[in-house]
Assembly symmetry: C4
Homo-oligomer: 245 residues x 4
């Protein structure tokens, strides 16, 4: 949805997952390090957590798809407008496609951690694919937009492709706390940046619009992106510290 809510919704999803991961992975790391027999660190307990996580991911994806399809000005599952002979609501369909891949990732998570048929690294692989597909969609999403709009979306790609690479590496280096925390920080960055995009492109409360072609705005937005990331790093660091002590 090309409005504020359409960016706030995925932003919230990413923020929730980023924050949750920034608690979960330090906890797991602490359990493993001190060889304490905590419920969370046990194999069964951890698997249950992973299954719940996958289920939540799938539900979020379903909410996202339904929201994109059935908002009042949405496509309602209609893809082609036969009267005007053109594609209908492609933006909503693209967003729904993005959610759909996260949904697949959630389902694969559940299958991976409930049965033993699938190698355990498959959950990371599928998540990496989902993130990469998001990147491809975004990259082609901004075709023909104005400069600031384009730039603000392309900045997101650093977080998206960085995240996809990080998760792909986790296929081979599973349980590496450094990669896991890096993933958390990129996930929080993505979440907060979705909110930022919403605030810049669709100012809520009817504020004045940003000048799309002002070079200063573009330079500010780049810097702002870095600040968001510094903030994400701070959150991950604080959560890590609190969990460890």
């Amino acid at each position: 949805m090309a409005n504020f809510k359409g960016h706030a919704l995925p932003g919230s999803f990413f923020l929730i997952f980023g924050l949750w991961w920034s608690v979960k992975y330090p906890l797991k790391y602490a359990c493993r390090k001190h060889k304490k027999i905590c419920w969370f660190g046990s194999k069964v307990g951890f698997q249950r957590v992973e299954v719940i996580e996958g289920a939540v991911k799938a539900i979020f994806a379903l909410i996202g798809i339904l929201a994109e399809q059935f908002v009042p000005d949405g496509p309602h599952l209609k893809l082609y407008n036969h009267e005007e002979k053109q594609w209908d609501h492609l933006m909503n369909w693209q967003h729904a496609t993005m959610y759909f891949f996260y949904g697949i990732s959630g389902v694969v998570d559940i299958i991976t951690h409930t049965t033993k048929a699938v190698p355990v690294a498959m959950d990371r692989m599928m998540l990496a694919i989902a993130v990469f597909v998001e990147g491809i969609l975004y990259y082609n999403h901004v075709h023909g937009r104005q400069e600031l709009d384009l730039h603000i979306h392309l900045l997101l790609l650093f977080a998206v492709f960085g995240g996809a690479l990080c998760i792909f590496l986790e296929v081979f280096f599973r349980g590496n706390i450094i990669l896991e925390l890096f993933r958390c920080s990129l996930c929080i960055l993505q979440g907060s940046w979705f909110w930022q995009i919403g605030f810049v492109l669709y100012p809520p409360g009817g504020g004045p619009e940003w000048n799309q072609n002002d070079h200063n705005n573009i330079m500010f937005i780049t810097m702002c992106y870095c600040w968001h990331y510094a903030f994400a790093l701070l959150i991950v660091g604080v959560n890590y510290g609190v969990v460890i002590w």
Copy 2:
């Protein structure tokens, strides 16, 4: 061949290999995991399969080269038109070159698995090179085409270069089921996308042509590509499930 059949032929080759791999690798994985003494899992049996696979690959490549060269409007091995003083049927020659590298890969497969002279990882390396060369050819293939034509070919490059990277990683991580399934899915994607290109650019049955410069068409095609991949993932997943149970 710049027509529907010219895209359907390689598409079918890729689909056949993708589907075959999505059965072969889970089977191999299941055999190895359960330490069952199945014919397929034995060293001799497996080598025989690899040799046959290489032979089929080489034969497919040969069919492709012959088809490109000796169709009625093909070059018939003539490269330079001395009358018009220009290169002749370069498209067909480029396609034939692409097939030729897959042919080399097939021959290397046979040599690798019949003799012990060549390290076993050489089959993956040669396949990675063949896929990468395909990518280079495609990248320069689309020079000066219309926008939709360009975009639909460039999307293919994600599958091609992703596949080349994946196979190159297999040189080092041989037998990694995650990478093998990833390769299957990309191979099926490539196959089905060749068919899609054929349907879009040369609609069989004389359907109306697509508007090459409509921005909506480009956005739809991007999304369509993702759906093809979701479909490829589904096929790989179902085949994996059937084989394992």
Copy 3:
């Protein structure tokens, strides 16, 4: 600061660190190789060195931020000019942001090597992030400049992204002397290139300005960059030789 000093300051910081590293890592390598019980090679001694290094890094970053903010024509922490309704001194703010990430890296170094709570590879990860953020800022920094200015800044990106990649690899291959020396050489290159940028864009002593659009100047600058790197390699080589013998 868009003047000579504003490039000489970070240049000096990078040179100091590059030179220090080109002494430190060979020393460490020699101690480890000969299993001599030298103070520097001991665990406690080495940790102390790392902590001091982190502190110096943080102090340099603080000096950089203060210099960018409080020079006479600096922003003095004012980001938005309400009178002219536009962003104020964005260049200084971008530079300060760059320093800020190096500051975070310094603080993480101190935490990593004084407590045992954080995995030791975190110092490399944070440094890689800081260098990568510098790269993103520089990449968007040069938007809309003249050709020579653009080219001279983009050349820096080879050193920046090369360095980020190298440090990221060190997360996995910690203590690899090859990577460490490579990092030294890129760090010295960055330092000397900052000085070079200062000399070219803001010739001190009021020399004549360079022709920004002369193609020959651009070709010369590219070659000059390679010479700087040859020089950096020479320094690293000589330091390595002196330390080892």
Copy 4:
């Protein structure tokens, strides 16, 4: 030197090294595999070979630099033309810079294999840097040329950057026969492509010049590049076969 000989000289250097490597590495591999006590496979014998190789590399580089500087229309070590107030013979200087880095690589080879002070992987690292610097120089070399000239040089970059990546991987996977043969094939490709560039851009014997902007020529050159690579693979394959049997 922007003439036929200026491309034939480096082409010959690369061809000689590529052919030599395609004999050396299979020989080494065969010795190691059969645990035969052949002179070549022994540590001392092999080190001597590496030192000679480094010396030859350094001598080739020296010949290249001298040729670029002291040909009749060369710069004779003069970099700046004070009369015309512009840089002089930048092309020759760039080529000399390229040779210079290969010279450094040769010297590092000698040092690495005569003393024990330097870790053995340093020879690969330095070669990777030399190849990468060649890539950077070439990338900026073609600025402002005509389309075919540009394209034919950029194609070379696939071999150059592919080679740099391959050699960089050898730092970590030293002695991997797959990577070594891959490097051979790319080196031969580079050599034969230098000759091809010479034939296309400066036809010897005064043949007709190629039309620089004909799209067909560009497509043909791309395909021709792939054929060169197929040929390089064939040579490496045949040499490997002969050596092994």
